[in-house]
Symmetry: C3
Subunit: 133 residues, 3 copies
Amino acid sequence: MGGTKKVIKLRTSSKEEIIDITDRVNEAIKGFGKKEGVCLLFVPHTTAAIFVNEGYDPSVKKDIGVTLGRLIPQNLDYSHLEGNSPAHIKSSIVGISLLVPVENGQIALGRWQSVFFAEFDGPRQREVWVWLL
Amino acid sequence: MGGTKKVIKLRTSSKEEIIDITDRVNEAIKGFGKKEGVCLLFVPHTTAAIFVNEGYDPSVKKDIGVTLGRLIPQNLDYSHLEGNSPAHIKSSIVGISLLVPVENGQIALGRWQSVFFAEFDGPRQREVWVWLL
Amino acid sequence: MGGTKKVIKLRTSSKEEIIDITDRVNEAIKGFGKKEGVCLLFVPHTTAAIFVNEGYDPSVKKDIGVTLGRLIPQNLDYSHLEGNSPAHIKSSIVGISLLVPVENGQIALGRWQSVFFAEFDGPRQREVWVWLL
């Protein structure tokens, strides 16, 4: 482990939001003073998620959010009474833990890839925890 | 690697079941004699999964299970003749490998998070393999 | 980190295809000259994915592909104009980063498990990046 974790703090601004955090992750990695390794990104929340996909055309992340909403709609009969069951379910399916390689002090992604934080129950103050292994 | 893997053994008691295994994971981590690192949790099965979500209100895990069953119903026309295709598909979507940070000898989760084992084709004897990196 | 990454090159042959790459992963691991550890498999694409499930009966992977297509159909009204939004969404849900334990120079899987590369927008030249930690 490359020392203590770094924390990326995010303020989401709406109920649902998909945010490209690639630059924030690269900033956090600088803090470890190590150029090669593997970066663990961990979301300590139960109504948010993290994933990698296309960062070039913003309509891609829009389609991802809309499709998750179509599959797991808000207005079904859920047991959990806080009204955010769809957010918990999306978080469980998309995932909250992601491992990404680091080369030359930056996350080594494919040409079109970005790292995204998915807010499913905002607006809230959120964190992504970063470790460099 | 912190030595050989530890094995969490589980006996599931019904066809579908979502079990909070956070305490079992913390017990397993004690066996490595190392207080900091990253814990790899690996499910060596094809009809079960592992994920992190809210462990406080049991209705959350109920909604997750019910919604997966609505999306991937039992009674469609599947090719695989053993009758458990929905279990294989749920396992592939939710995932069988999970990386969680460890701090002070325990998995470092967010305030509301627990680690869950999801049984989709029980009852069976199951395992979760644990490594501390 | 066990040195530089190894690259598995794949040529997919149709629009959608799920390919068992377990043997290719084991070959790649040999190149690291290390028998124990954890293998990071990373797909540097935004319309493909990687997962672990049953490798014995090919009808299982067929059911997985068909079900993903039923959940995320081609003919909906997507914003992204390249016509491959379903592929981006499937990639985000199934995942592009996978961690698998290595024992005795091979990935340590359960009895029925194989590692699969999922092509959702082929045919294309694809890669899977392999690291041994």
